[in-house]
């Protein structure tokens, strides 16, 4: 069974600074994907970044990058040059269900990111 853990319920960062959101997961699979989703207040959940476990290189999307440590089962998200529009709930997710089965996503509990102007 898959589990996803986000240990930071809330993080605060000054605008233009860098912040790292933590995520750990547990799986018995060797090949899988991991996701970070962003849910702005009252807006749709959108994909921020995706990592393929078999790839050594960490994924990067503009100001967003991940630090993927497969052996440690760690998947943190780094946001550089934080902007006010980055304020949102961030969810780490694993494709698969906590009760078994490959469909759907198992989400962490989320990290509420606050950007201080």
């Amino acid at each position: 069974a898959q589990t996803v853990t986000q240990s930071q319920p809330e993080m605060s960062v000054q605008e233009a600074e860098t912040v790292t959101l933590s995520c750990t997961y547990d799986t018995s699979e060797s090949d899988y994907y991991l996701f970070w989703y962003k849910q702005p207040p009252s807006r749709q959940m959108i994909l921020v970044i995706r990592q393929e476990a078999y790839k050594q290189q960490n994924a990067t999307e503009n100001r967003f990058s991940v630090n993927f440590q497969k052996a440690a089962k760690s998947f943190s998200l780094k946001i550089s040059d934080s902007q006010l529009g980055d304020a949102a709930m961030y969810f780490c997710a694993y494709p698969g269900r906590s009760g078994g089965g490959a469909d759907g996503l198992t989400f962490g509990k989320g990290t509420h990111l606050i950007i201080q102007p």
């Binding site: 899988y32 994907y33 996701f35 989703y37 849910q39 807006r43 749709q44 959940m45 959108i46 994909l47 995706r50 393929e52 709930m89 969810f91 494709p95 698969g96 269900r97 906590s98 009760g99 490959a102 469909d103 759907g104 996503l105 198992t106 989400f107 509990k109 989320g110 509420h112």
Partner: protein, 113 residues
């Protein structure tokens, strides 16, 4: 933003009423999902579908039911709403395998009095 829509966006209803939350997508995706997001923001899969006439229950037990008569449409029904059903309901779709990105609708915030 993705082409996936949910109506209504907000709903306040009394206990015992029957409600249907609508979800539609114009991307032609076979897979669709319903997630329940509790007030603490945790998300749990309650239903999913592989395609037309396919529906399955997710990890979180739910008294709701779903149907998939058309590819683009995946409504969720509560036969008798209760205060414990108060939550946000998110619909999502994806193109294919589990590793594919899921696209989410804007959600329906349900309050049952």
């Amino acid at each position: 933003e993705a082409d996936i829509y949910q109506t209504p966006r907000y709903l306040v209803i009394g206990t015992g009423k029957k409600i249907t939350l609508e979800c539609s997508q114009t991307m032609g995706h076979d897979k669709m999902y319903w997630y329940q997001q509790d007030p603490g923001m945790e998300l749990h899969l309650i239903h999913y579908s592989y395609g037309v006439n396919s529906t399955e229950k997710g990890d979180l037990s739910s008294e709701s039911t779903v149907s998939r008569i058309r590819t683009e449409h995946f409504p969720l029904t509560l036969e008798s709403a209760r205060p414990s059903h108060t939550s946000q309901y998110l619909c999502a779709s994806s193109e294919g395998p589990a590793q594919e990105t899921q696209y989410f609708g804007p959600g329906t915030r349900l309050l049952v009095l």
